[in-house]
Amino acid sequence: MQLLEFQAKELFREYGINLLNSISSTNIEEGRKHAKELGYPFVIKIQVPVGGRGKAGGIQKCQNDDEFEIKYPQVMDLTIKGERARAILLEKMADIKKELYLSIFLNRSKRCYTIIASAEGGVEIESVKNQIIKEIGLGEVSDDLAREVAKEMELDGNTAEQFVDTLKKLSNLTIEKEAELVEINPLAIMQDDTIMALDGKFVTDDNSNFRHPELEKYQEKTAIEEQAEKSGFSLVELDGDIAVVGNGAGLVMSTLDMLSDNGGKPACFLDVGGGATTESVYEALTLISKLDRVKGILVNLYGGIVKTTVVAEAFLKAYENNLIDLPVFSRLKGTESEKAKEMLEGSRTNIFDSVEEAINAAVMGVKK
């Protein structure tokens, strides 16, 4: 999961990385209190788990009460890349001399952690110039290496020492919390030569969650996502009207692609996992029945060992129990598909031999 800025900063604070004063809130009443505590001027920052907040107007300077009353609700109402505000962070205005870039990320192709640093930060990583790149194995950063990075960035004196300290703390944080990415952008040199983390990005390795109960409070899941996880499914909600269900992440992604190519709009990505049983398919239909926007269900199962009749039973049961009244367009690969077709004759489930046919029928079907 990707933490919100204020959550990443909570971790930074815990590890002793320098920060400006800031307070997060989820409504304007709370916000007003924080504004008083903090004092003007400050910056109002939307908290969403995606980048590009500044460009979208999600970061606003605020000088006084009048501005606050206008800007707080404005920022709160923004949707950035489909993400609504989770919170608002008020942060003291900074007097910046220079903006640096610093991150430690999991380098997937090199299979090691890697430092990226630059004396020219404050822009998105793709545009950061003069990147200093150091591979660091499992994430450990020695004093010598940290000094070398500082030197290559042409930092000196007290600033260099503070940078070294920050980099080492960031390395500890990466290792101990098992992050996939920790980024400070910008890492600012202030007018008084102190170094401060002005923004924070933190992506966890979700597979290590069981070792990190302390990060559980940052988990943000809708009720339906939580239920999906309990069933061992992967669910990503999307904003179309055709629910896409299949077994295996690659196969479901592929179905999503083909559906989009044919003008269909996926309502969700639902991977029920490698196998498929009556229970897992019934459970998937239960989840989908809770998504209001869905007008049709597209099922693509490659059941190597699975009997398609077993899956057909799940559909029949779902109609019988009035779980769903939506049309289902299904491609079931596996044994006994002729029998499965017979079972479903006259029901609202249509079985197709190829995924292409199922997709075409689904796209036409939801238009009706």
Binding site: G82, N207, K333
Partner: protein, 305 residues
């Protein structure tokens, strides 16, 4: 680095030619026992199983079960093992295997923490061993040996190598290939994790010199840059066998994990466009649908004739 065909199949004349021994770690668990049976049914020579505390039993009245990998390897001299233990026990199972002399380790579990994979990899590198996975369907030479969880039907012996990040897409595309008359010389599941024991380029290096190889199929998906790096390697190496790719996830939203831990686009890193454009640069056509893969492959073969 091991020779994958030597390890999985051996050479004609070897006493264990086409009967290489495989140890199953986690053989008494529900998942491990199901797939151990399936592997045996496929013809894989499962010589031992390991489950701590269950030593002395016989699996299916035949296969001896040991408490540790050391005992199992001492008794069988096997070089291949497959891990079916839950993700949180993967690292200790992998260490047990690698320290006992296993040279090819197939890691089935999904949800292994990245740090554990990296630690296991460090050890594998020290020992000159290869890890396939984690989060992989496994590896197979069709009709000879299956070390994995793949259903048997999609696969047929032949001369096309298939490398895939995804399990079900490997089945789907191999099925389409088989139906079009393209059997497979080997199929390697890379796995859907951010860090792979065997990356696409490593898998390519394993198969590129197969003497009678007639074609290569690469099944990628969004996330990371291993497809791009492979495309570059193919350009640099002058590999000229007909090659076709498929990339899943073109329609996936950015910054969302699409089922696989590794299937996530961050900014432009990991995007389908980036992968497709690198394959285009390498003159490798990218199929829009799994069913299109054999069509494009046949087209490539016509041109190379």
């Amino acid at each position: 680095m091991i020779d994958i065909f030597d390890t999985l199949k051996g050479k004609p004349g070897d006493p264990d030619y086409e009967k290489k021994g495989v140890i199953v770690q986690g053989i008494t668990g529900a998942y491990g026992s199901l797939h151990a049976k399936q592997m045996i049914a496929y013809g894989t020579n499962v010589v031992a199983g390991v489950t701590p505390g269950k030593g002395g039993q016989k699996f299916e009245d035949k296969v001896p079960v040991y408490n540790t990998m050391k005992e199992a390897v001492d008794a069988t001299n096997a070089k291949i093992s497959i891990i079916y233990v839950p993700a949180k026990f993967f690292l200790s199972a992998a260490k047990d295997a690698l320290e006992s002399g296993i040279k090819l380790l197939v890691a089935i579990p999904e949800h292994v923490p990245i740090r554990d994979t990296m630690e296991a990899l460090d050890l594998a590198n020290q020992k000159g061993a290869v890890i396939i996975g984690p989060n992989t369907p496994g590896i197979m030479i069709p009709e000879i040996i299956k070390v994995g969880i793949m259903p048997p039907m999609p696969f047929k012996a032949g001369k096309i190598a298939v490398l895939s990040k995804s399990g079900t897409l490997l089945y789907e595309i191999s099925d389409a290939l088989t139906n079009s008359g393209f059997g497979q010389s080997i199929t390697i599941g890379i796995g859907g994790d951010p860090v792979n024991g065997t990356r696409l380029i490593d898998a390519f290096d394993m198969v590129k010199n197969i003497s009678d190889l007639e074609g290569l199929v690469i099944v990628g998906e969004i996330g990371g840059d291993s497809e791009e790096i492979l495309a570059q390697r193919i350009i640099d190496s002058g590999f000229n066998k007909p090659t076709v790719a498929y990339i899943a996830g073109r329609a996936a939203p950015k910054e969302k994990r699409m089922g696989h831990a590794g299937a996530i686009v961050m900014g432009t890193y990991g995007s389908a466009e980036s992968k497709v454009s690198m394959f285009n640069k390498a003159n490798i056509p990218v199929a829009k649908r799994p069913a299109e893969v054999p069509v494009l492959l046949a087209g490539k073969m016509d041109k190379s004739d």
